[in-house]
């Protein structure tokens, strides 16, 4: 558990300007991270839709879909840049990632600087947003200089949120979950509305995942698993999309090829905007333990190389991998690997629709990155004298001491097996166990 203090200049508010028009004046963290200070000021084309998006993102942040007891939520994260806004949140149970992308066509007369910040969507603002109507005009304004100057000291307030480390880890892992996802199907507006209207009710968390299968112009949920069809555990977690259904133009369902429990991505296309939900492979399974990049993270040189990439990241909607490759002198494939490492650390976000990474510096995460991967840390703590390896046919047999016993790790090519409980439960589906990480490091050093 770690305490995160979000210090805002002032609360967010929806106010009327001198001409009576509505201005959503979002309070943001006083010390933003990233490049320039985040700043955004623009007219919203469809106030009700934009309000619905903000409310949906806020609703995910306040939700806990697994064991719904008191939720610890962090306010949504806002990234501005390239004429667009991205508002992200992550459920308290670490199983649902949400992002609203406001695209340039949804915004008018935009002034935008680049950066990342948390924004405060308090009850009063949510109330006001819920009351918005398309007949209202709304200006979205973040970090008005005038207000900052006059109010910084006087009206700053803090909100303290006790956040588990797994929340921070999960946010990064949610980005990695989108890597390799491909569109499974795209529904038109009618099919989208029907799908969202007929979501299966929440069942026991141990229930097997559904398969979301395309039937004609609709997607239906089945319990019969089918390869390459999206596996969706707890489709009720899509419920925050329901209020946006009347505006839906299309819904794209994303998945990784293969079978078994996998994350699924749900991209709701709206006029001038996109709403994303990425569901974890199981209701009880948060993203924090997925361990998708542990192999890379356990290699100090890779982490260093990824860290060196950070100053070169710009705030465009798609990070230019070729330019980064030129800037760093490594090939594009390696840049992709390094961006994945940064993604797992929450330092860049993933936009599957663009098939690209975008820069997003979590203001609170930078100092905590070192604590985010306990498996890597604990693998590093295993002494070399506690690891013994021998060559076997096609690979290595490694014994790694763990307390009073030794775990046998069998490494054959990319495959690995271990006698520990983590491996027994997940069989590699949630990344390598710490014994495997230590064994691989040992074998590499021996070589």
């Amino acid at each position: 558990m770690t305490d995160v203090v979000l210090a805002y200049e002032r609360p967010s508010r929806l106010v009327a300007d001198t001409s009576g028009l509505r201005v959503l004046d979002l309070g943001h963290t006083a010390v933003p991270a990233g490049g320039a200070e985040p700043f955004f000021d623009g007219w919203v084309a469809q106030p009700r839709l934009v309000a619905g998006l903000l409310l949906a993102v806020a609703a995910v942040a306040r939700s806990r879909y697994f064991r719904p007891i008191s939720a610890r939520s962090l306010d949504p994260i806002l990234t501005s840049g390239d004429g667009r806004l991205r508002l992200e949140s992550f459920s308290s149970c670490c199983g649902v990632y949400a992002r609203a992308d406001l695209l340039p066509e949804a915004l008018r007369d935009v002034r935008v600087e680049s950066g990342t910040t948390n924004v405060d969507l308090n009850r009063e603002v949510r109330d006001a947003l819920a009351r918005l109507d398309d007949r209202d005009e709304m200006r979205l304004s973040i970090g008005s200089t005038g207000l900052r100057v006059t109010t910084r000291a006087a009206e700053a307030f803090e909100r303290k949120v006790a956040l588990p480390v797994r929340w921070l880890k999960g946010l990064g892992e949610a980005a990695l979950a989108q890597v390799g996802m491909r569109p499974y199907t795209r529904l038109a507006s009618a099919g989208t509305r029907r799908l969202l209207a007929d979501l299966p009710a929440a069942g026991p968390s141990s229930a097997p995942p559904y398969a979301a299968v395309r039937h004609g112009r609709e997607v239906r949920f089945h319990q019969q698993a089918t390869a390459d069809v999206p596996s969706v555990a707890g489709p009720f977690r899509l419920r925050e999309l329901r209020p946006l259904a009347p505006y839906a133009q299309a819904l794209t369902v994303w998945t990784r090829p293969g079978a078994g429990p996998r994350a699924s991505g749900w991209q709701l296309d709206l006029p001038g905007a996109r709403m994303w939900l990425v569901l974890s492979p199981d209701v009880s399974r948060g993203y924090s333990g997925e361990g998708q990049a542990l192999d890379a993270l356990s290699d100090p040189s890779t982490v260093e190389e990824a860290d060196a990439l950070r100053p070169l990241l710009d705030w465009s909607a798609r990070l230019d991998e070729a330019a980064l490759a030129r800037g760093t002198g490594v090939d594009v494939a390696r840049v992709r690997d390094l961006l994945a490492v940064l993604g797992s650390q929450g330092l860049v976000g993933r936009d599957a629709a663009e098939d690209a990474w975008f820069r997003r510096d979590l203001p609170f995460a930078a100092a905590r990155i070192g604590t985010l991967q306990p498996r890597v840390r604990r693998a590093g703590q295993i002494a070399a004298s506690d690891i013994h390896s021998a060559r076997v046919e096609g690979g290595h047999e490694v014994f790694v001491r763990s307390g009073r016993i030794e775990h046998r790790v069998l490494l054959v090519g990319d495959e690995a097996r271990c006698t520990c409980l983590w491996y027994s439960r997940h069989r590699g589906s949630r990344g390598p166990c710490r014994h495997e990480l230590a064994a691989r490091r040992h074998v590499a050093e021996q070589a």
């Binding site: 009618a190 949920f221 019969q224 069989r427």
Partner: protein, 941 residues
């Protein structure tokens, strides 16, 4: 002691608070101060009395009334937190009770102490009944009317709290409560929310009757009353916020106020905003209210068309239809809005409810001459229900099927196929299809027709492999039953020979087995993973005592015995390969392999009768003659057993009882009874017991009180009939829950025993997804039961199973109708209808099968409540429209003719169904083609 003091103490001792109040009247503050020490002492004595909660309650109240009349804030019991100072908290409660009593009120009214406002403030923090006490002081003018937030929020939350003085009576005494306090409350942040949430008071258990306090009063205010106006406006404003789960409370409060059409009209813009709210119930409320505005002719047609389009996508068909109606009214008033209305109605045209679609189509058809309207209708056709599309003149496309060509191809394939059940099924299907009839279900007899197609199961060859398999079982991460089989075989074969680094390699297994013992303390036979932990312990320590034999009267008994036999093998210390491990993942044993095992093991294998019996039960139907040849003239009993199981006809009376029974089961009528009993009568399951229904209080009263050695009493309920019934039921559940999948793998030739009880069936439904799994009457009954289950996942799985069964021909309309012929319950009918809808939507074959089954089972559902009945009749209409046929069943037409009488929605739908032509076949060509293709697909490749 003075006379006054004597009178006062006498009044206290008699518990007469009124006499106490009378004896204090007109005393000066000095006289009161003199009396206070004695009163405080007496109050303290009474508080310390062990019986004060029961015997001296009145005396305590009287003493504290006296203390209230003589003490000061410095001497009276101070405020205390129950968590920090329980005794002090009780003392303070005594004083509060005295305050709240009529006598206490008189004492304070007579005394009028200067510290009374401070006490009021303090008690307002407590709230509840003390708010009422404070208010009475205010009404009587003893303290000034507070304007604090605590007091004002108390107006909402506590006025009329106890119900002793209803709110209207309070308002008669104190009109300022309504005229001053309530407006001040509404001026507070979320004051309206406080009013809404304080409106409902719930009585004490067990009745817990709800009553409303403020809304009846406010409902009685005349229209135009400023306070009522303010509240109505405030409620609509609050309802428009991010109310989420609170929406119902606001909406209900608003409904209780019975707003008039004029009041809604004055707020129509707010209602139009609410119609776009994200909470469906708020939208429903707004649309209903706008209906009133519209009926009053006050809804601007342009507003309706401009704002209500998204509402026509509402999940609730009622709300969506109401919005469509409002847009329709706008179109009638202002026909030039037709094109805009058509755009607004686009969501309605693709609504999941055909009624919503139909309403929208009817509206737009009247303006179809407008090319923009016509374009919207044309775009929507693909999403329209078939019955609605039919009203647009869209004739459903007949299945573009070359049935004659398919029949010719099927005959060609049949001619090449030779004999076998699949060929027989195809021949029957060709005959039925030619006659325009539905083919009979396909034949599924794994005990006769199984073929060696499943992946092989190989024995464990190394210690590390054995450890990995055992870890899967101990960690409960088994994904295939062959894991248990391989682990048992590997352990039996491992013996006592151990490599030098044995401890290192088995270390993780030992730790995890010990963890199971430490955390669960399982007994022998409780569950599979802990029994394997015992087995690991036997492996490590072969001399360990092995548990006694289990009766073979349940599936669990057989499994536990199999584990126990391996423990005995380990105890003997002779490495042994088991007889029963399957040779493929379908759990069969290739007969030739069993013959080899018999030759290798000899009669020593008969020391493990259950192992051998299961091996016999797993004997595959193919390759038996080769096994007979291999064992020809072999003199051993075990060879005779295998030969007999393969059909040699020889006597195996020398074999142990379970083995003889298994052989008899293979050769006799193997599929007439539960295999694990091999012919013995099956013990019926005990009646189910829901522990929540047990009357624990009554059981406690009838319990035997047994003195315990260390003192105290033990309440023993084990003799009570309900305890014994519960124990029987929970023992049964425990036995049944051992491992259905593994048990089913013991007798792969027949798994019908699974479907006879809900416990195994609920865990095994996925088995029916396999095309080679037989579906008997019990299995079909379970599918129908699971379709109506409470959990969405189980319902969905059962629907998937039904879909698969229809697709591969294991279920036809006759078998589905037979399973559906039990009367449907009102509670579950909606779920069954939904599952039939989903199944029928899969293909033309599914639609035809479900339609015919529903028609054939009309006697089971015709008396359902209106909602599910209408849903089913609507679907029948849809299916008949799609298939271009009517109901073939004369019985169904007769029942529907009765239902069609009258003007109800049910009657209208029944008439629509009956309107479909009933002449000719009701087995459409596209369904026939799919059924034929399913049977062709079952031919051996």
């Amino acid at each position: 002691m003075t006379d006054t003091e004597k009178r006062l103490h006498a009044a206290i001792d008699s518990g007469d608070a009124d006499a106490v109040a009378a004896s204090l009247v007109a005393l000066s503050e000095a006289e009161r101060a003199d009396l206070e020490p004695g009163v405080a002492r007496r109050a303290d004595e009474l508080h310390r009395s062990p019986d004060w909660m029961v015997l001296t309650g009145q005396q305590l109240t009287a003493a504290h009334v006296a203390w209230l009349g003589t003490g000061t804030p410095a001497s009276l019991p101070p405020e205390a937190d129950i968590h920090d100072d329980q005794d002090g908290w009780y003392r303070r409660i005594h004083l509060q009770k005295a305050c709240a009593s009529a006598a206490g009120h008189r004492v304070l009214a007579d005394r009028r102490p200067e510290w009374l406002p401070k006490l009021v403030d303090e008690y307002l923090h407590y709230g509840h009944w003390l708010w009422d006490w404070a208010w009475r002081l205010i009404v009587d003018g003893l303290v000034p009317r507070p304007d604090s937030e605590l007091y004002l929020r108390g107006v909402a939350a506590y006025a009329g709290f106890g119900g002793d003085e209803p709110l209207p009576d309070m308002l008669d005494r104190d009109p300022a409560l309504l005229e001053v306090d309530l407006p001040a409350l509404l001026a507070l942040p979320d004051g309206i929310g406080a009013l809404v949430h304080g409106d409902v008071r719930v009585g004490t258990p067990p009745a817990r009757i709800q009553r409303r306090v403020w809304s009846p009063v406010l409902a009685a205010l005349p229209s135009g009353n400023p306070l009522r106006e303010r509240i109505l406006t405030g409620l609509l404003e609050a309802l428009g916020g991010d109310v989420g789960g609170e929406a119902a409370a606001y909406r209900q409060f608003l409904t209780e106020l019975r707003p008039t059409a004029a009041e809604f009209t004055a707020r129509r813009q707010a209602l139009l905003r609410l119609a776009g709210h994200r909470v469906p119930s708020v939208v429903g409320f707004a649309v209903k209210a706008l209906g009133q505005v519209d009926r009053a002719g006050q809804l601007d047609p342009a507003d309706a068309v401009d704002r209500l389009g998204p509402v026509t996508a509402a999940t609730s068909a009622g709300t969506a239809r109401a919005a469509v109606k409002l847009i329709g009214a706008a179109m009638r008033r202002q026909p030039d809005l037709a094109a805009a209305a058509a755009i607004a109605l686009v969501p309605a045209l693709s609504h999941s409810s055909a009624d919503v679609q139909r309403d929208a189509v009817h509206l737009l058809q009247a303006h179809a001459t407008d090319e923009r309207v016509a374009a919207v209708l044309a775009d929507a056709r693909a999403d329209l229900a078939r019955t609605v599309a039919g009203e647009l003149g869209e004739v459903p496309a007949a299945g573009d099927v070359d049935l004659d060509g398919l029949l010719a191809e099927a005959r060609r394939r049949l001619a090449q196929a030779g004999d076998g059940p699949a060929a027989t099924d195809l021949a029957a299907a060709i005959e039925a299809t030619t006659a325009g009839a539905e083919p009979p279900p396909v034949t599924v007899r794994p005990w006769r027709d199984a073929r060696p197609t499943a992946a092989p199961v190989t024995p464990i060859e190394s210690l590390d492999e054995l450890v990995e398999e055992l870890l899967r079982v101990v960690d409960r991460t088994v994904s295939a039953t062959s894991t248990m089989e391989r682990a048992l075989d590997g352990l039996a074969a491992s013996g006592t020979l151990r490599p030098a680094d044995f401890g290192r390699r088995v270390g993780p297994l030992i730790v995890r087995a010990n963890d199971v013992f430490a955390t669960d303390s399982p007994g022998w036979g409780e569950n599979v993973h802990s029994d394997f932990c015992y087995l690991v312990a036997n492996w490590m320590e072969p001399a360990r005592v092995v548990a006694g034999p289990e009766p073979l009267d349940s599936a669990r008994g057989w499994l536990v015995e199999r584990i126990r036999e391996v423990a005995l093998v380990l105890q003997r210390g002779t490495p042994t390969r088991l007889f029963a491990p399957p040779t493929d993942e379908a759990d069969w044993i290739d007969p030739i392999v069993l013959a080899e095992r018999a030759l290798a093991a000899g009669d020593a294998a008969l020391d493990r009768p259950v192992d051998v019996a299961v091996a016999v039960a797993r004997l595959a139907p193919w390759g038996r003659s080769a096994a007979l040849d291999r064992l020809r003239d072999k003199p051993s009993t075990i060879a005779a057993v295998v030969r007999a199981a393969c059909g040699s006809g020889e006597d195996v009376c020398a074999a142990p009882d379970p083995v003889r029974r298994a052989v008899a089961w293979q050769l006799g009528q193997p599929h007439a009874g539960p295999p694990y009993l091999f012919g013995d009568p099956e013990p019926p399951p005990p009646p189910p017991v829901d522990w929540r229904s047990l009357d624990l209080l009554s059981m406690h009263e009838r319990a035997e009180q047994i003195p315990m050695e260390g003192g105290g009493i033990c309440y023993d309920t084990t003799h009570l009939p309900e305890f014994q019934a519960a124990r029987r039921w929970f023992d049964y559940l425990r036995r049944e829950g051992y491992s259905t999948d593994w048990a089913a793998s013991q007798w792969p030739g027949d798994t019908r025993w699974i479907w006879r009880g809900d416990e195994h069936a609920a865990r095994s439904l996925r088995r029916l997804l396999e095309p080679d799994e037989p579906v008997g009457d019990d299995a079909m009954a379970q599918v129908l039961r699971q379709i109506a289950d409470e959990t969405a996942e189980r319902r969905t799985l059962a629907t998937d199973v039904l879909t698969r069964l229809v697709a591969d021909g294991r279920v036809t309309s006759d078998t589905l109708a037979a399973a559906s012929s039990k009367p449907w319950t009102a509670r579950t009918a909606g779920r069954v209808v939904d599952a039939f809808d989903r199944t029928a939507a899969t293909s033309a074959l599914h639609r035809a099968v479900v339609r015919r089954a529903v028609a054939a089972s009309v006697s089971a559902w015709h008396a359902l409540p209106a909602k599910p009945l209408c849903a089913l009749l609507f679907l029948l209409d849809e299916w008949c429209t799609a298939d271009g046929c009517g109901l073939g069943s004369a019985d169904a037409r007769r029942v529907l003719a009765i239902l069609s009488e009258g003007r109800s929605k049910t009657a209208g739908l029944a008439r629509r169904v009956l309107a479909h032509p009933s002449v000719g076949t009701d087995w459409p060509p596209d369904a026939a083609a799919a059924a034929l293709e399913a049977r062709v697909a079952r031919l051996p490749q």
